[in-house]
Symmetry: C2
DNA sequence: CTTATTCGTAAGTAATAACTAACGTTAGGT
DNA sequence: ACCTAACGTTAGTTATTACTTACGAATAAG
């Protein structure tokens, strides 16, 4: 159920880039917004969407707000994708057998 | 580069449901559209989006058109997600060490 | 050649989403 | 108390997108 919200959240390129920036560790909003062609409030809204989707969590640290990746969300995505992969691959092999089955 | 288009394509719920319907094997458009509250042309457009994203392929079979998942696209998604998972988990552990390091 | 099936495409519309600008809030410093 | 820094939120605007309806193309059958 949760992987669906994650997929929806990861659709937007800017939001995906923000998420990628958190890949190697937590970061504050200002630092996250740096380098993007859009305003800081826009990044803030993207972070809100990522948080709603369960992809990130945030902690206050003075006046700053530190965002970090939530590993559990990635785990759910992996479970879904691996399951899909297994089924699709099995179906793919079955289809190949059907094509080359009797010459 | 291709996993990004896949993520964008998998954002829409209807399109995701269509893709899920191909999980266990190929299927024609009419059969795919069956059971959805939207029209067949809408499903056709979703299939076009999935094809552009590289998630599915299609083959003509008489007047019908059979769609099937393209395993390679899933593989690219898995590579990206697994890499992200590794980095994020390492960063998560590092963050925990920082918190409980000398406490 | 005509007819029925199955499907893609084009045009137009309504809903959604990303963005900016302005404002309010909280924490830290002087 | 005053000021600055860092950030979230709201309102309004524009661009994107999902959808329906109408139409056209390709295949199979008679």
């Amino acid at each position: 159920m949760a992987y669906e919200q994650a997929l929806t959240a990861l659709a937007d390129p800017t939001r995906r880039a923000v998420f990628e920036k958190l890949r190697h560790g937590p970061m504050a909003v200002g630092e996250l917004a740096r380098g993007f062609p859009v305003s800081r409030p826009a990044i803030s809204q993207h972070l809100g969407a990522l948080k709603t989707a369960g992809l990130v969590r945030d902690v206050r640290q003075g006046t700053k707000r530190i965002y970090a990746v939530r590993p559990e969300s990635l785990k759910e995505l992996r479970v879904w994708l691996n399951g899909f992969w297994d089924d699709a691959l099995a179906a793919y092999k079955t289809a190949l057998e059907g094509e080359t089955g009797d010459g």
